[in-house]
Symmetry: C2
Subunit: 265 residues, 2 copies
């Protein structure tokens, strides 16, 4: 998503060129390219698919909408398995129209995971609940902290459900370091993503994630925390940023790789 201006073939070529060993993919471009074809493209280039983004949106109340969401998540799990990644990231969903019940919405996520967790594990895929920054609580993700994400995940076996830690979403939270340790101890640190926090936030707040090093987050310290908790998996850089998307994608990828070295290693 950091370089969404690149098509899948360009992306794979640019990763190989920049020495980037793995790539997190999003469902839409993969579906447009064809899941099997995308899997072959990435595999032939020697790239790992680190995660698939994203499943989730499991907070609907309406039964038909719930069935549709479950079916869509089953499809996402199958796509992840085909792509050869062991991790599907979940963005849980916001409050249904007119609802003010955060607790109820979180319970409906748990209910859906009762179906999706075993389905995923049977296919070698782990679900990673990603807490999103509290500014997304109403319209995108009612799971706002790592503690909440783990409270949900721990109802299920670790090989079914864990968490995704993204610095952008958790950096402000003084409880997050202890929650990372909790996740690590339980074998539930399934994904780790970097983005920096910059202000002012743009309208809608979705596409203002900062390039590594431009913002307020001590990225190296967070990397240290997940590694101290036993994380040895890939580190993704996920920047939703209109300015980066307007630039040449290969340049942005090379810049991001360089920023990663400077600010996170």
């Amino acid at each position: 998503m950091t370089v969404k201006q690149l098509g899948l073939e360009e992306l794979v070529a640019a990763c190989a060129e920049s020495g980037v060993p793995g790539v997190g993919l999003w469902r839409e471009p993969v579906q447009a390219y064809g899941v099997e074809a995308a899997a072959k493209l990435v595999r032939d280039a020697g790239l790992a698919v680190t995660t698939l983004c994203r499943g989730g949106f499991l907070t609907a109340i309406d039964p038909h909408a719930r069935v549709k969401a479950i079916d869509d998540n089953r499809a996402a799990i199958e796509e992840a398995a085909t792509l050869g990644t062991d991790t599907l990231v979940l963005v849980s969903g916001g409050l249904p129209e007119g609802s003010k019940d955060l607790h109820g919405a979180r319970e409906r996520i748990a209910e859906a995971l009762t179906e999706l967790g075993p389905y995923a594990a049977e296919r070698g895929v782990r679900l990673a609940i990603e807490p999103l920054h509290p500014m997304f609580a109403s319209d995108r993700c009612v799971v706002s902290t790592l503690a909440q994400a783990l409270d949900l995940a721990e109802r299920f076996p670790a090989e079914q459900v864990g968490v995704c830690v993204d610095t952008y979403h958790v950096w402000w939270d003084d409880r997050a370091p202890a929650q990372i340790a909790r996740a690590g101890a339980g074998g539930r640190l399934h994904a780790f993503q970097l983005a920096d926090w910059t202000t002012p936030l743009p309208e809608g707040v979705l596409n203002g994630r900062g390039q590594l090093g431009d913002g307020a987050i001590d990225l190296r310290a967070w990397r240290g925390l997940v590694e101290a908790a036993g994380y040895t998996g890939p580190i993704e850089v996920e920047l939703f940023n209109d300015e980066l998307w307007a630039r040449n994608g290969r340049e942005v990828l090379a810049e991001t790789a360089e920023r990663f070295t400077t600010h996170a290693t």
Copy 2:
């Protein structure tokens, strides 16, 4: 602030007209009018000054900036005492330029409160640390949760330092209800404010607070929580909202009073 388009005299007249028994004032218009004169104006109208907003901004590292901030907060305490309110709301301040150290910034707030707490209590004023939504953590307030605010406040006597609960800032936090109980048990629930959460957030995210009833927050439930924790003080409505500010102030005040009745009583 909900009707900042009204001058102080208009505001006082409009409150009396709408049956609003008290008003939270901001320092800038009070200073412009004259603190003594403002105190007399409000007193003569039979209105209570519920709180003064705002002191704080105590996170600077530079010694000169720190001295200046302390002096400014002393002045704010004196203004509060002159206005006859017992509560000065504190917005703690963000990260200093270039700093990524949230913990250090929070410690510098505690350091400043060591001076300001006794100074306030001697003048009959309580300081109320207001946690701001985590989306303000870098540039406005490193205190993002009620738990953090209470961790700071509890280092001081309750008659010196407590907290301000604003639904807009805490509504997403599943720990907030227990923290309200903690604050109440310790005699530290010094102020309670209502605003609703609406999306999309505007650029800069400061002036998008929703009119009561327009958003995702169960205002009545939060009022119930603070009252169950023993709060009997005034309830303020604090809306930063460009659209409300562009309208006729008296109309907005009357609408807000009506929304309060419908959604919070």
